[in-house]
Symmetry: C2
Subunit: 372 residues, 2 copies
Amino acid sequence: MNLTGLEVRADALLATWADDGAPVTYPTLWLRDNCPSAFHPQTEERVLDLLSLAAQPVLTHAEQGRETVVLHYADGHVSHIALALLAAHRPGRPVSDPAAIPPRLWRGDLAPGGIPRFAAARLAGDDAALETWMRQTAALGLSIVDGLADRVDAGVEIACKIGFLRETNFGMTFEVVSKPDPNNLAYTAVTLPLHTDLPNQEVPPGFQFLHCLANEAQGGGSLFADGFALAEDLRARDPEAFRLLSEVAIPFRFHDRHADIRTHAPVITLDRVGAVREIRWNAHIAATFDMPADVMPAYYRAYRTFMAMTRDPAYQITFKLAAGEMIVFDNRRVLHGREAFDPSTGFRHLHGCYVDRGEFNSRLRLLARTPG
Amino acid sequence: MNLTGLEVRADALLATWADDGAPVTYPTLWLRDNCPSAFHPQTEERVLDLLSLAAQPVLTHAEQGRETVVLHYADGHVSHIALALLAAHRPGRPVSDPAAIPPRLWRGDLAPGGIPRFAAARLAGDDAALETWMRQTAALGLSIVDGLADRVDAGVEIACKIGFLRETNFGMTFEVVSKPDPNNLAYTAVTLPLHTDLPNQEVPPGFQFLHCLANEAQGGGSLFADGFALAEDLRARDPEAFRLLSEVAIPFRFHDRHADIRTHAPVITLDRVGAVREIRWNAHIAATFDMPADVMPAYYRAYRTFMAMTRDPAYQITFKLAAGEMIVFDNRRVLHGREAFDPSTGFRHLHGCYVDRGEFNSRLRLLARTPG
């Protein structure tokens, strides 16, 4: 990145970059806090004692080199600061992040061919394929991996190419089968309306991996909807409902003999700039609402409006997973559900696990380091 | 809980309780949403289809029984709703939670005898002792367990009485020893100023367990400070600094060959009612600040003010862990650090692990179920 102007003030360096006409202000304390000498050579962690500096170090002059700017301060300190660092870190501007992949919203008209599909064998040995798959999964919020071996660990092994698993009260992995003494509706044969998993956790599990080992029963098709698309359409159509769902935290709770896990959170979580970052939708484990009674009628109206949208086929895609296929989706974005099935007509068995967003994003950043 | 008044309106039930003169309003949709018939008998999850109800069900009359209120609706539905449920869930009021333990703030004058101390053998077999220990640890944010066996797993076994471990990029457990090729300052022999671990994670690890296996080197004392006390004192003394530290999210980042984990979060996180809920303090892995340049000088002033408070002995307690002792602390509240040590004078070895707040709070709720 080329520097087209450099101005020294006592309290800041002003730099103008070729890609942007306006000068960028770098306060002197920031410059000292990010001087290469502030970091441990091995761990790259900051070892500078910030309190050893004046509240506002005084910059006296600056010289531009080929790849650095040399900064001279009144206290005698000299910094050789990389142009690349200054170009990448412009106060007030987001820093580039290989894991910041813009979501590509979808609705019920997403064609089956529009779902990214990758062969398990390819992901196992090829970092470029792994990265492509992960980037597409991040953008759309879901993908399919196929050609998995008929072993319960085959899906988990793919998930672990990304990062370690997220353990929950349901274990490190879980079996979605009809059970005689279910502690969760997933473990019955009834219809499961669209929902996200474990919104009762402070941070619900990130990416979910459901490896289909058998799907021979009648029924048992899978449903998905893009919660970000639902939220954005709600924002456009009914701003007051969107406001309530993003501002009012509601209680979620799961409890059985071995756990009692509760949190308060809004249905729609926004990030610092108001973009939709997370959806929590699970009427089964929404606990007893506790907002003030005078907010309740308006809240219920908003909540039912969103619920009705989740039932609208205009947002849903449905298909039946086949043995050897694995659906992968962002559980904090994409709602999933299933049609009822008749366990007397055949076996249905999904093996599931989660990898959190933190591990997913870390892997994306590592893969982006590798050239090609 | 005794009911002293009951009034039926078409859109709500108004109940007056013996412990509170003002009538509590229960909107009819809320009453239907929480009717016992709305829940699955086995999983206790909600199975009612909320959209099958009118937007505002019409209540016609109510009869009070010994333990229930019987509600009759215009659509013919009859609910038998427990008085206990109505008493416990009053719209606008917090619901009782055994895990909601008010923090008891402390400063540098906390006497060594003021730190809860429990024998490992007692915690291993006694649920009442386990509960007492956990409640005291939650209130103060730290405690000591002593009498641990000289095995690396001895501390982990105590932690697992609470819940499963939180895995991080440093593993399921970690060894705090001086290493030849450190990826983290903890793995050197230098001074570690007070900090919290892994503020670069979306949710930093909750409770930290550091089991001391050897501490024979010169130096290597442990330091602790109550981050909630620091924050509350800052709020009282310097509201503008408190505002900046609780409103401006700053970037945190840890990266090495195997991970690149980043997040933005404020130093002080508040809960929904403005109480301090979490402290993130780690100057080593605070990444390059990216707030607008015009906010930066005021932010640095606030940040340095908090930093100076963390250095003030008025907030610090120090002691040297002995082999067989384990310090347990809320890593999202209590800052920890250590004095430099001289590895040539003896071995220093701590074995560490984390259990998250979610598992901790779940265990507290389960223990509260058991009478006694």
